[in-house]
Amino acid sequence: MKSYINNYELWCNAGNTADLMGSIYDKKSALVENETFLKDAIAGLGIMKYDDIYSLMKEVVSKVLNESNLKDFKNTLLILGSSVGGMQKCEDIFYSQKSYKNINPNKYSMNALTDYLVKEFNFYDSRAISTACTSSANALLLTKRLINVSAYENVLVVGADGLCNSTVLGFHSLGVLSSKKCRPFDENRNGMNVAEAVAVLLIQNKKTDNSIELKGVGASSDAYHMTNPNPEALGAMASMKNALSDAGIDAKDIDYVNAHGTATLANDKVEALGIEKLFVKNVYVNSTKAITGHTLGAAGAIEAIISCEVIKRALIPAQTSLENQSNKNIKINKENVKMEVKNVLSNSFAFGGNNASIVLGVCK
């Protein structure tokens, strides 16, 4: 069975899908530089306008359901990818009360989000994946395999992460947080921007007039270091190769790579090397994190939606905030490129050397 992405919507610092694509093509970063989390220090962040992650998820999921061919989610599996789950609210309780006493353990972890959605929408079943920044990419990976073996006809993938003290300050402690808006693949890049988002994709075994096919999925482990990628890009390349192989296509068939591109020194150097080795200069590459920031567990789902839009609009976005390209052996465009886009590869990489890549393309 093939997998088709039939409906989707997101909410991030730039707004919804239409707003985000407008920002991407206009090269208008939605990142801000402020002191929200760091005392006496500035951080570049991707901050959403929202009340709480639960009501936001409900709103975005409702929109996807209303625009779909489903009446409800009774026969749909929910797969959530998140790195912090319900931690945002638990942190607030702990910091204000200096005690665990009023923290509900059921509201702490990833299942806090899935339990809420199951209660609101009556899904057939649910899973919650947490592999840090590959969480929702791995949710897409499992979805394709479940549909392929005819286990489910409908799967709703949700990527959701809200900003937390622990993530912002944690990345700060690693020295990888930029005080400015991030500049992926630039010679003078100096780190990433932590961000938040909710992204929802309905994936089904039957195509519609508006479908994008989820053609291939691949994953790998670096087995090298907990935070630094393998310097020869072996893990990243294995993930991309596995996705291409699963899709049954070659590197030359990819028109655009939506890179993980966090703008950290290590990630961009290694990812660019992997892309260079695999694609030479035959493919357009960029990172949309220059607009959204790094939405952690939601990133794979957000960037899958962006990739679908790039295919539908036949317009490859320019790289925002790029002045001097670091690795000149890959093709990063400074202006939008109008062309037929048949296949896109999207990368997500995470702590622990966890790598996931997906291939999306036009339906045959």
Binding site: F94, L142, G170, A350
Partner: protein
């Protein structure tokens, strides 16, 4: 919905009221610097995978509460206005334990981490079944909870064992002869998020080698 039949190749379990002793770390992780960085979940993961004779391949790991000790350290640092330890932060993600396994065993295969509340170990098993079906390979299915943190008594209402883990290696069976549905063979006092996989490990200890799992 689709079901598959799994062979249980091997199984292991371990738990303790406070802290599991003798996890054989020096043999399993000869490098002292690496050993010192391991989280409790990682040490238990290495122990259980060794007991299951699993040294590499696809892993599906489950934990409802993840690396709670590291997360608590971070939260307390934030509360006190102290700098967060970079090691605590890198060790706080839910895929920490299988990632250390991959690092130590040079295992470059896929790792999926499930965190589905009290049905974590069941969803871990379902996902391992999918991975086994998709790949045709043996898969390590493992679930661990370590909630032995300072002041845990403020919120712990669900377990007598603050450290516990269970693992099974599974593969797709070639036939359905003598297949069994998963029985409820829970271990009293173990956290609910591990009970389904505990039941499977107990079935295996009782001589049952084949189970049916809905994907």
């Amino acid at each position: 919905m689709k079901s598959v039949v799994l062979n249980i190749v091997s199984s292991a379990k371990i738990y303790a009221a406070q802290k599991i002793e003798n996890l054989d770390e020096k043999r399993l992780v000869p490098n002292m610097m690496t050993r010192r960085r391991l989280t409790r979940n990682s040490r238990i993961m290495l122990y259980l995978s060794d007991k299951c004779a699993f040294s590499g391949g696809k892993i599906v790991y489950g934990s409802c509460f993840g690396e709670l000790e590291e997360t608590a350290k971070i939260a307390n640092s934030v509360l006190e206005g102290d700098m967060i330890s970079p090691t605590s932060f890198q060790n706080s993600v839910y895929n920490t334990a299988p990632s250390y396994f991959s690092l130590i065993n040079k295992d470059t295969d896929e790792i999926i981490t499930i965190s589905s509340g009290m049905k974590t170990s069941l969803d871990t098993l379902k996902t391992a079944a999918l991975q086994a079906l998709a790949s045709g390979e043996k898969v390590l299915c493992i679930a661990i909870e370590c909630i032995n943190i300072n002041k845990i008594q403020e919120i712990n209402r669900c377990t007598k064992f603050l450290e516990a883990g269970v693992a099974v290696v599974v593969e797709i069976a070639q036939d359905e002869n003598e297949v069994k549905e998963i029985e409820s063979l829970h271990v009293d006092g173990i956290i609910g998020s591990l009970q389904d996989l505990m039941s499977v490990a107990n079935m295996h200890e009782n001589g049952i080698n084949k189970i049916k799992v809905e994907l």
